[in-house]
Protein backbone atom coordinates (compact mmCIF):
# COMPACT_ATOMS: atom_id res chain seq x y z
CA UNK A 1 0.00 0.00 0.00
CA UNK A 2 2.80 2.41 0.96
CA UNK A 3 6.26 1.87 -0.48
CA UNK A 4 9.07 4.06 0.83
CA UNK A 5 12.42 3.48 -0.76
CA UNK A 6 15.74 5.21 -0.12
CA UNK A 7 14.21 8.54 0.82
CA UNK A 8 16.63 11.35 1.64
CA UNK A 9 15.66 14.81 2.74
CA UNK A 10 17.77 17.84 3.56
CA UNK A 11 16.55 21.10 5.08
CA UNK A 12 19.86 22.65 4.09
CA UNK A 13 22.99 21.14 2.54
CA UNK A 14 24.43 20.59 6.01
CA UNK A 15 21.26 19.40 7.74
CA UNK A 16 19.88 16.06 6.67
CA UNK A 17 16.56 15.10 8.30
CA UNK A 18 15.97 11.78 6.57
CA UNK A 19 18.72 9.39 5.58
CA UNK A 20 18.04 6.51 3.23
CA UNK A 21 14.68 5.56 4.71
CA UNK A 22 13.21 2.39 3.26
CA UNK A 23 10.13 0.57 4.49
CA UNK A 24 6.64 -0.38 3.44
CA UNK A 25 3.15 -0.76 4.79
CA UNK A 26 0.99 -3.49 3.30
CA UNK A 27 -2.77 -3.51 3.08
CA UNK A 28 -4.45 -3.95 6.44
CA UNK A 29 -1.23 -3.52 8.34
CA UNK A 30 -0.78 -1.24 11.35
CA UNK A 31 2.72 0.15 11.57
CA UNK A 32 3.84 2.25 14.53
CA UNK A 33 6.73 4.66 14.08
CA UNK A 34 8.53 5.68 17.25
CA UNK A 35 11.77 7.31 18.27
CA UNK A 36 13.14 10.30 20.17
CA UNK A 37 11.97 13.77 19.21
CA UNK A 38 13.79 15.23 16.25
CA UNK A 39 14.39 11.80 14.78
CA UNK A 40 12.41 12.54 11.63
CA UNK A 41 9.31 10.42 12.31
CA UNK A 42 6.85 13.24 11.62
CA UNK A 43 8.81 14.36 8.60
CA UNK A 44 8.76 10.86 7.17
CA UNK A 45 5.00 10.44 7.58
CA UNK A 46 4.40 13.86 6.02
CA UNK A 47 6.44 12.80 3.02
CA UNK A 48 3.96 9.98 2.41
CA UNK A 49 1.24 12.38 1.27
CA UNK A 50 3.73 14.95 -0.01
CA UNK A 51 3.03 17.57 2.63
CA UNK A 52 6.82 17.62 2.92
CA UNK A 53 8.95 17.43 -0.21
CA UNK A 54 12.05 15.23 -0.29
CA UNK A 55 15.10 15.39 -2.50
CA UNK A 56 15.80 11.81 -3.44
CA UNK A 57 14.22 8.40 -3.26
CA UNK A 58 10.69 7.27 -4.08
CA UNK A 59 7.41 6.95 -2.22
CA UNK A 60 4.35 5.41 -3.76
CA UNK A 61 0.87 4.99 -2.34
CA UNK A 62 -1.35 2.34 -3.86
CA UNK A 63 0.92 2.27 -6.90
CA UNK A 64 0.89 6.05 -7.44
CA UNK A 65 4.23 7.76 -7.17
CA UNK A 66 3.99 10.66 -4.72
CA UNK A 67 7.12 12.45 -5.93
CA UNK A 68 6.18 12.36 -9.61
CA UNK A 69 5.41 15.91 -10.79
CA UNK A 70 2.66 14.48 -13.01
CA UNK A 71 0.81 12.98 -10.05
CA UNK A 72 -2.49 14.66 -9.21
CA UNK A 73 -1.61 15.33 -5.58
CA UNK A 74 -5.01 16.61 -4.39
CA UNK A 75 -6.59 13.43 -5.75
CA UNK A 76 -3.99 11.21 -4.10
CA UNK A 77 -4.28 13.06 -0.79
CA UNK A 78 -8.05 12.75 -0.81
CA UNK A 79 -7.55 8.98 -0.55
CA UNK A 80 -5.00 9.22 2.25
CA UNK A 81 -6.44 10.25 5.61
CA UNK A 82 -4.25 12.25 7.91
CA UNK A 83 -4.60 13.15 11.58
CA UNK A 84 -2.37 15.87 13.02
CA UNK A 85 -0.84 16.44 16.42
CA UNK A 86 -2.72 19.71 16.87
CA UNK A 87 -6.01 18.46 15.36
CA UNK A 88 -6.19 21.30 12.80
CA UNK A 89 -9.95 21.42 12.70
CA UNK A 90 -11.19 24.47 10.82
CA UNK A 91 -12.18 26.85 13.64
CA UNK A 92 -14.56 28.94 11.53
CA UNK A 93 -16.71 25.95 10.59
CA UNK A 94 -19.14 23.94 12.67
CA UNK A 95 -18.13 20.38 13.49
CA UNK A 96 -20.45 18.92 10.87
CA UNK A 97 -19.17 21.38 8.26
CA UNK A 98 -15.62 20.37 9.10
CA UNK A 99 -16.65 16.88 8.02
CA UNK A 100 -18.61 18.00 4.97
CA UNK A 101 -16.26 20.53 3.35
CA UNK A 102 -13.88 18.18 1.58
CA UNK A 103 -16.60 15.62 0.85
CA UNK A 104 -18.51 18.26 -1.09
CA UNK A 105 -15.64 20.18 -2.67
CA UNK A 106 -13.28 17.30 -3.43
CA UNK A 107 -15.51 14.25 -3.84
CA UNK A 108 -18.46 16.25 -5.24
CA UNK A 109 -20.89 14.61 -2.85
CA UNK A 110 -24.24 16.28 -2.43
CA UNK A 111 -24.84 18.21 0.78
CA UNK A 112 -27.34 15.60 1.97
CA UNK A 113 -25.02 12.70 1.30
CA UNK A 114 -22.09 14.46 2.95
CA UNK A 115 -24.22 15.31 5.99
CA UNK A 116 -25.44 11.73 6.32
CA UNK A 117 -21.91 10.40 6.11
CA UNK A 118 -20.69 13.04 8.53
CA UNK A 119 -23.38 12.32 11.11
CA UNK A 120 -22.78 8.59 10.83
CA UNK A 121 -19.07 9.09 11.54
CA UNK A 122 -19.71 11.54 14.38
CA UNK A 123 -21.96 8.94 15.94
CA UNK A 124 -19.24 6.37 15.54
CA UNK A 125 -16.73 8.52 17.46
CA UNK A 126 -19.42 9.35 20.01
CA UNK A 127 -19.86 13.03 19.17
CA UNK A 128 -23.19 13.21 17.39
CA UNK A 129 -24.49 15.80 19.85
CA UNK A 130 -21.61 18.16 19.08
CA UNK A 131 -22.37 18.44 15.35
CA UNK A 132 -23.64 22.02 15.49
CA UNK A 133 -20.89 23.32 17.78
CA UNK A 134 -17.65 24.99 16.82
CA UNK A 135 -14.27 23.31 17.42
CA UNK A 136 -13.31 25.80 20.15
CA UNK A 137 -16.22 24.50 22.27
CA UNK A 138 -14.85 20.95 22.32
CA UNK A 139 -12.15 19.42 24.48
CA UNK A 140 -8.86 18.34 22.93
CA UNK A 141 -9.85 14.69 22.94
CA UNK A 142 -13.17 15.46 21.30
CA UNK A 143 -11.48 17.63 18.68
CA UNK A 144 -9.06 14.87 17.80
CA UNK A 145 -11.91 12.37 17.45
CA UNK A 146 -13.63 14.83 15.10
CA UNK A 147 -10.37 15.09 13.15
CA UNK A 148 -10.31 11.31 12.78
CA UNK A 149 -13.94 11.33 11.65
CA UNK A 150 -13.15 14.12 9.18
CA UNK A 151 -10.39 12.01 7.64
CA UNK A 152 -12.61 8.91 7.53
CA UNK A 153 -15.36 10.82 5.75
CA UNK A 154 -13.21 10.73 2.62
CA UNK A 155 -13.24 6.90 2.63
CA UNK A 156 -9.45 6.74 2.75
CA UNK A 157 -7.53 3.64 1.72
CA UNK A 158 -4.90 4.34 4.38
CA UNK A 159 -4.72 6.51 7.49
CA UNK A 160 -1.67 8.45 8.66
CA UNK A 161 -1.47 9.59 12.28
CA UNK A 162 1.14 12.16 13.26
CA UNK A 163 1.46 12.00 17.06
CA UNK A 164 -2.30 12.10 17.51
CA UNK A 165 -2.20 12.07 21.32
CA UNK A 166 0.88 14.17 22.06
CA UNK A 167 -1.01 17.43 22.48
CA UNK A 168 -3.71 15.92 24.67
CA UNK A 169 -4.19 16.04 28.41
CA UNK A 170 -3.48 12.57 29.83
CA UNK A 171 -7.10 11.81 30.68
CA UNK A 172 -8.12 12.35 27.07
CA UNK A 173 -5.53 10.10 25.48
CA UNK A 174 -7.52 6.91 25.88
CA UNK A 175 -10.70 8.16 24.20
CA UNK A 176 -8.67 8.89 21.07
CA UNK A 177 -6.71 5.65 21.26
CA UNK A 178 -9.95 3.69 21.62
CA UNK A 179 -11.16 5.06 18.29
CA UNK A 180 -7.84 4.17 16.70
CA UNK A 181 -7.88 0.64 18.14
CA UNK A 182 -11.37 0.10 16.72
CA UNK A 183 -10.17 1.32 13.39
CA UNK A 184 -7.22 -1.06 13.44
CA UNK A 185 -9.48 -3.98 14.35
CA UNK A 186 -11.66 -3.17 11.35
CA UNK A 187 -8.68 -3.73 9.11
CA UNK A 188 -7.76 -0.13 8.25
CA UNK A 189 -4.23 0.28 6.94
CA UNK A 190 -2.52 2.62 9.36
CA UNK A 191 0.84 4.32 9.79
CA UNK A 192 1.05 5.84 13.24
CA UNK A 193 3.75 8.07 14.70
CA UNK A 194 3.29 7.82 18.44
CA UNK A 195 4.93 7.37 21.81
CA UNK A 196 2.00 5.29 23.06
CA UNK A 197 3.70 1.93 23.44
CA UNK A 198 0.53 0.47 24.94
CA UNK A 199 -1.21 1.17 21.64
CA UNK A 200 1.69 -0.34 19.73
CA UNK A 201 1.59 -3.52 21.83
CA UNK A 202 -2.13 -3.83 21.37
CA UNK A 203 -2.64 -3.37 17.65
CA UNK A 204 0.63 -2.83 15.80
CA UNK A 205 1.86 -5.46 13.37
CA UNK A 206 5.23 -3.83 13.03
CA UNK A 207 7.22 -1.20 14.85
CA UNK A 208 9.68 1.14 13.15
CA UNK A 209 12.24 2.83 15.36
CA UNK A 210 13.86 5.98 14.03
CA UNK A 211 16.79 7.96 15.32
CA UNK A 212 18.62 10.91 13.73
CA UNK A 213 16.72 10.57 10.49
CA UNK A 214 17.45 6.89 10.00
CA UNK A 215 15.25 3.86 10.30
CA UNK A 216 17.27 2.00 12.91
CA UNK A 217 14.89 -0.86 13.48
CA UNK A 218 11.96 -2.21 11.49
CA UNK A 219 10.64 -5.30 13.20
CA UNK A 220 7.54 -7.29 14.03
CA UNK A 221 5.95 -6.07 17.25
CA UNK A 222 6.91 -9.17 19.25
CA UNK A 223 10.56 -8.91 18.21
CA UNK A 224 10.72 -5.19 18.90
CA UNK A 225 9.31 -5.35 22.40
CA UNK A 226 10.91 -8.71 23.15
CA UNK A 227 14.47 -7.95 22.26
CA UNK A 228 15.31 -4.93 20.12
CA UNK A 229 18.50 -5.55 18.16
CA UNK A 230 19.99 -2.08 18.31
CA UNK A 231 21.39 -0.38 21.39
CA UNK A 232 19.61 2.83 20.57
CA UNK A 233 16.21 1.16 20.47
CA UNK A 234 16.97 -0.66 23.72
CA UNK A 235 17.90 2.59 25.43
CA UNK A 236 14.82 4.31 24.06
CA UNK A 237 12.54 1.53 25.23
CA UNK A 238 14.05 1.35 28.68
CA UNK A 239 13.59 5.09 29.06
CA UNK A 240 9.97 5.28 28.04
CA UNK A 241 8.90 2.05 29.68
CA UNK A 242 10.65 2.63 33.00
CA UNK A 243 7.81 4.68 34.51
Amino acid sequence: MIEISHVNKWYSPSFQVLTDCTTSVTKGEVVVVCGPSGSGKSTLIKCVNALEPFQSGDISVDGTKVNDPKTNLPKLRSRVGMVFQHFELFPHLKIIDNLCLAQQKVLDRSRDKAMAKGMQLLERVGLKEQAQKYPANLSGGQQQRVAIARALAMDPIVMLFDEPTSALDPEMVSEVLDVMVDLAHEGMTMMVVTHEMGFARKVANRVIFMDRGEIVEDAAKEDFFGKPRSDRAQKFLSKILSH
Binding site: N49, L51, L73, P74, K75, L76, R77, S78, R79, V80, G81, M82, F84, H86, E88, L89, F90, P91, H92, L101, A102, K105, V106, L107, Y134, A136, R150, A151, M154
Partner: protein
Protein backbone atom coordinates in the same frame (compact mmCIF):
# COMPACT_ATOMS: atom_id res chain seq x y z
CA UNK B 1 -18.68 85.34 18.77
CA UNK B 2 -21.46 83.14 17.50
CA UNK B 3 -23.87 86.05 17.32
CA UNK B 4 -23.65 86.37 13.56
CA UNK B 5 -23.99 82.69 12.82
CA UNK B 6 -27.10 81.37 11.14
CA UNK B 7 -27.49 77.69 11.83
CA UNK B 8 -30.80 77.57 10.03
CA UNK B 9 -28.84 77.37 6.77
CA UNK B 10 -27.91 73.85 7.78
CA UNK B 11 -31.52 72.83 8.29
CA UNK B 12 -32.48 74.19 4.91
CA UNK B 13 -29.60 72.40 3.21
CA UNK B 14 -30.13 69.05 4.95
CA UNK B 15 -31.99 67.24 2.14
CA UNK B 16 -29.36 68.30 -0.37
CA UNK B 17 -26.47 67.45 1.94
CA UNK B 18 -27.68 63.96 2.74
CA UNK B 19 -29.62 62.85 -0.34
CA UNK B 20 -26.96 64.00 -2.74
CA UNK B 21 -23.79 64.38 -0.74
CA UNK B 22 -23.88 61.64 1.85
CA UNK B 23 -25.35 59.12 -0.57
CA UNK B 24 -22.42 59.69 -2.88
CA UNK B 25 -19.89 59.51 -0.05
CA UNK B 26 -21.31 56.28 1.35
CA UNK B 27 -21.64 54.66 -2.09
CA UNK B 28 -18.06 55.55 -2.95
CA UNK B 29 -16.84 54.31 0.45
CA UNK B 30 -18.68 50.99 0.18
CA UNK B 31 -17.71 50.24 -3.41
CA UNK B 32 -14.10 51.33 -2.90
CA UNK B 33 -13.81 49.22 0.26
CA UNK B 34 -15.25 46.18 -1.51
CA UNK B 35 -13.14 46.61 -4.62
CA UNK B 36 -10.06 47.44 -2.57
CA UNK B 37 -10.57 44.33 -0.46
CA UNK B 38 -10.90 42.05 -3.49
CA UNK B 39 -7.96 43.59 -5.34
CA UNK B 40 -5.95 43.85 -2.12
CA UNK B 41 -6.53 40.19 -1.31
CA UNK B 42 -5.33 39.29 -4.81
CA UNK B 43 -2.18 41.36 -4.21
CA UNK B 44 -1.64 39.67 -0.85
CA UNK B 45 -1.99 36.23 -2.44
CA UNK B 46 0.50 37.25 -5.13
CA UNK B 47 2.98 38.31 -2.48
CA UNK B 48 2.59 35.06 -0.56
CA UNK B 49 2.37 32.83 -3.62
CA UNK B 50 6.02 31.79 -3.61
CA UNK B 51 6.38 32.91 -7.21
CA UNK B 52 9.12 35.52 -7.01
CA UNK B 53 7.99 37.57 -10.00
CA UNK B 54 4.37 37.82 -8.87
CA UNK B 55 5.49 38.79 -5.39
CA UNK B 56 7.82 41.45 -6.76
CA UNK B 57 5.11 42.98 -8.94
CA UNK B 58 2.68 43.16 -6.03
CA UNK B 59 5.39 44.52 -3.72
CA UNK B 60 6.40 47.29 -6.09
CA UNK B 61 2.76 48.21 -6.65
CA UNK B 62 2.02 48.43 -2.94
CA UNK B 63 5.14 50.46 -2.17
CA UNK B 64 4.44 52.77 -5.09
CA UNK B 65 0.85 53.50 -4.05
CA UNK B 66 1.80 54.00 -0.44
CA UNK B 67 4.50 56.50 -1.35
CA UNK B 68 2.12 58.92 -3.09
CA UNK B 69 -0.29 61.42 -1.54
CA UNK B 70 -3.86 60.39 -2.24
CA UNK B 71 -4.87 63.81 -3.60
CA UNK B 72 -2.18 63.58 -6.20
CA UNK B 73 -3.29 60.13 -7.27
CA UNK B 74 -6.88 61.30 -7.58
CA UNK B 75 -5.81 64.26 -9.65
CA UNK B 76 -3.44 62.41 -11.93
CA UNK B 77 -5.81 59.58 -12.43
CA UNK B 78 -8.62 61.89 -13.42
CA UNK B 79 -6.48 63.50 -16.09
CA UNK B 80 -4.66 60.40 -17.22
CA UNK B 81 -7.42 57.78 -17.44
CA UNK B 82 -9.02 59.31 -20.56
CA UNK B 83 -5.67 59.16 -22.35
CA UNK B 84 -4.86 55.67 -21.10
CA UNK B 85 -8.31 54.63 -22.27
CA UNK B 86 -7.63 56.16 -25.64
CA UNK B 87 -4.32 54.34 -25.89
CA UNK B 88 -5.82 51.01 -24.83
CA UNK B 89 -8.88 51.15 -27.04
CA UNK B 90 -7.15 52.90 -29.93
CA UNK B 91 -9.83 55.57 -30.09
CA UNK B 92 -9.18 58.76 -31.97
CA UNK B 93 -9.77 61.04 -29.00
CA UNK B 94 -9.46 60.67 -25.21
CA UNK B 95 -12.36 58.60 -23.92
CA UNK B 96 -14.61 60.29 -21.41
CA UNK B 97 -14.63 58.81 -17.95
CA UNK B 98 -17.06 60.27 -15.46
CA UNK B 99 -15.77 61.78 -12.27
CA UNK B 100 -17.45 59.03 -10.26
CA UNK B 101 -15.91 56.18 -12.25
CA UNK B 102 -12.54 57.86 -12.16
CA UNK B 103 -12.62 58.47 -8.42
CA UNK B 104 -13.91 54.95 -7.74
CA UNK B 105 -11.10 53.34 -9.73
CA UNK B 106 -8.58 55.57 -8.00
CA UNK B 107 -9.82 54.70 -4.54
CA UNK B 108 -9.97 50.97 -5.30
CA UNK B 109 -6.40 50.99 -6.58
CA UNK B 110 -5.15 53.15 -3.74
CA UNK B 111 -6.95 51.30 -0.97
CA UNK B 112 -5.94 47.92 -2.40
CA UNK B 113 -2.37 48.71 -1.38
CA UNK B 114 -3.44 49.14 2.24
CA UNK B 115 -5.95 46.30 2.29
CA UNK B 116 -3.35 43.97 0.79
CA UNK B 117 -1.01 44.58 3.72
CA UNK B 118 -3.83 43.89 6.17
CA UNK B 119 -4.85 40.70 4.39
CA UNK B 120 -1.22 39.61 4.17
CA UNK B 121 -0.91 39.92 7.93
CA UNK B 122 -4.22 38.09 8.27
CA UNK B 123 -3.14 35.20 6.07
CA UNK B 124 0.17 34.94 7.89
CA UNK B 125 -1.65 34.82 11.22
CA UNK B 126 -3.18 31.45 10.24
CA UNK B 127 -1.04 28.58 11.49
CA UNK B 128 0.63 26.51 8.81
CA UNK B 129 -1.20 23.46 10.04
CA UNK B 130 -4.47 24.78 8.63
CA UNK B 131 -3.50 24.79 4.95
CA UNK B 132 -1.66 21.51 5.57
CA UNK B 133 -4.83 19.93 6.92
CA UNK B 134 -6.83 21.26 3.99
CA UNK B 135 -4.30 19.91 1.48
CA UNK B 136 -4.25 16.58 3.29
CA UNK B 137 -8.00 16.32 2.68
CA UNK B 138 -7.42 16.78 -1.03
CA UNK B 139 -8.39 20.42 -1.41
CA UNK B 140 -6.50 22.27 -4.11
CA UNK B 141 -4.52 25.43 -3.39
CA UNK B 142 -7.40 27.62 -4.60
CA UNK B 143 -9.95 25.70 -2.52
CA UNK B 144 -7.70 25.82 0.52
CA UNK B 145 -7.46 29.58 0.22
CA UNK B 146 -11.12 30.11 -0.50
CA UNK B 147 -12.68 27.83 2.10
CA UNK B 148 -10.08 27.60 4.85
CA UNK B 149 -7.46 30.35 4.91
CA UNK B 150 -9.17 33.50 3.62
CA UNK B 151 -12.36 33.23 5.70
CA UNK B 152 -10.24 32.96 8.85
CA UNK B 153 -7.86 35.71 7.75
CA UNK B 154 -10.78 37.98 6.95
CA UNK B 155 -12.40 37.29 10.27
CA UNK B 156 -9.23 37.86 12.27
CA UNK B 157 -8.59 41.10 10.44
CA UNK B 158 -12.17 42.41 10.39
CA UNK B 159 -11.58 45.11 13.04
CA UNK B 160 -8.52 46.40 11.19
CA UNK B 161 -10.34 46.26 7.86
CA UNK B 162 -13.22 48.31 9.23
CA UNK B 163 -10.83 50.79 10.80
CA UNK B 164 -9.17 51.20 7.41
CA UNK B 165 -12.63 51.69 5.89
CA UNK B 166 -13.32 54.50 8.37
CA UNK B 167 -10.14 56.18 7.18
CA UNK B 168 -11.32 55.61 3.63
CA UNK B 169 -14.69 57.18 4.50
CA UNK B 170 -12.89 60.33 5.60
CA UNK B 171 -10.50 60.25 2.65
CA UNK B 172 -13.34 60.21 0.12
CA UNK B 173 -13.80 63.88 0.96
CA UNK B 174 -10.70 64.49 -1.14
CA UNK B 175 -12.77 64.06 -4.29
CA UNK B 176 -13.65 67.71 -3.84
CA UNK B 177 -10.60 68.38 -6.00
CA UNK B 178 -12.64 66.97 -8.90
CA UNK B 179 -15.58 69.24 -8.00
CA UNK B 180 -17.66 66.20 -7.15
CA UNK B 181 -20.68 66.66 -4.93
CA UNK B 182 -19.84 64.30 -2.11
CA UNK B 183 -20.90 65.24 1.40
CA UNK B 184 -18.11 67.75 1.89
CA UNK B 185 -18.53 68.98 -1.68
CA UNK B 186 -22.23 69.59 -1.08
CA UNK B 187 -21.55 71.38 2.18
CA UNK B 188 -18.91 73.44 0.46
CA UNK B 189 -21.26 74.44 -2.35
CA UNK B 190 -23.94 75.59 0.05
CA UNK B 191 -21.32 77.42 2.08
CA UNK B 192 -20.07 79.33 -0.94
CA UNK B 193 -23.55 80.07 -2.24
CA UNK B 194 -24.92 81.40 1.04
CA UNK B 195 -21.68 82.79 2.37
CA UNK B 196 -21.98 80.56 5.45
CA UNK B 197 -18.56 78.95 5.50
CA UNK B 198 -18.16 78.58 9.26
CA UNK B 199 -21.56 77.01 9.82
CA UNK B 200 -21.32 74.54 6.98
CA UNK B 201 -17.76 73.40 7.60
CA UNK B 202 -18.50 73.12 11.30
CA UNK B 203 -21.50 70.97 10.52
CA UNK B 204 -19.55 68.82 8.06
CA UNK B 205 -16.89 68.23 10.70
CA UNK B 206 -19.51 67.21 13.26
CA UNK B 207 -21.09 64.73 10.83
CA UNK B 208 -17.78 63.12 9.84
CA UNK B 209 -16.77 62.97 13.48
CA UNK B 210 -20.03 61.40 14.62
CA UNK B 211 -20.14 58.72 11.97
CA UNK B 212 -16.46 57.78 12.39
CA UNK B 213 -16.81 57.75 16.15
CA UNK B 214 -19.82 55.46 16.12
CA UNK B 215 -18.06 53.14 13.67
CA UNK B 216 -14.92 53.03 15.84
CA UNK B 217 -17.04 52.20 18.84
CA UNK B 218 -18.61 49.38 16.85
CA UNK B 219 -15.15 48.08 15.97
CA UNK B 220 -14.16 47.94 19.63
CA UNK B 221 -17.24 45.91 20.49
CA UNK B 222 -16.58 43.62 17.55
CA UNK B 223 -13.00 43.11 18.72
CA UNK B 224 -14.22 42.07 22.15
CA UNK B 225 -16.59 39.57 20.58
CA UNK B 226 -13.98 38.03 18.32
CA UNK B 227 -11.63 37.73 21.30
CA UNK B 228 -14.23 35.62 23.07
CA UNK B 229 -14.81 33.31 20.13
CA UNK B 230 -11.11 32.58 19.80
Amino acid sequence: MFANLDFDVIRRALPYLFYEGMTFTLTLTALAALGGLVFGTALALMRLSGYKILGRIAGVYVDFMRSLPLVLVIFWFYFLVPYIGQWVTGASRPISVGAFASSLITFIMFEAAYFSEIMRAGIQSISRGQPAAASALGLTYAQTMRYVVLPQAFRNMLPVLITQTIVLFQDTSLVYVLSITDFLGAASKVAQRDGRLVEMYLFAAVVYFTISCIASFGVRRLQARIAIIR
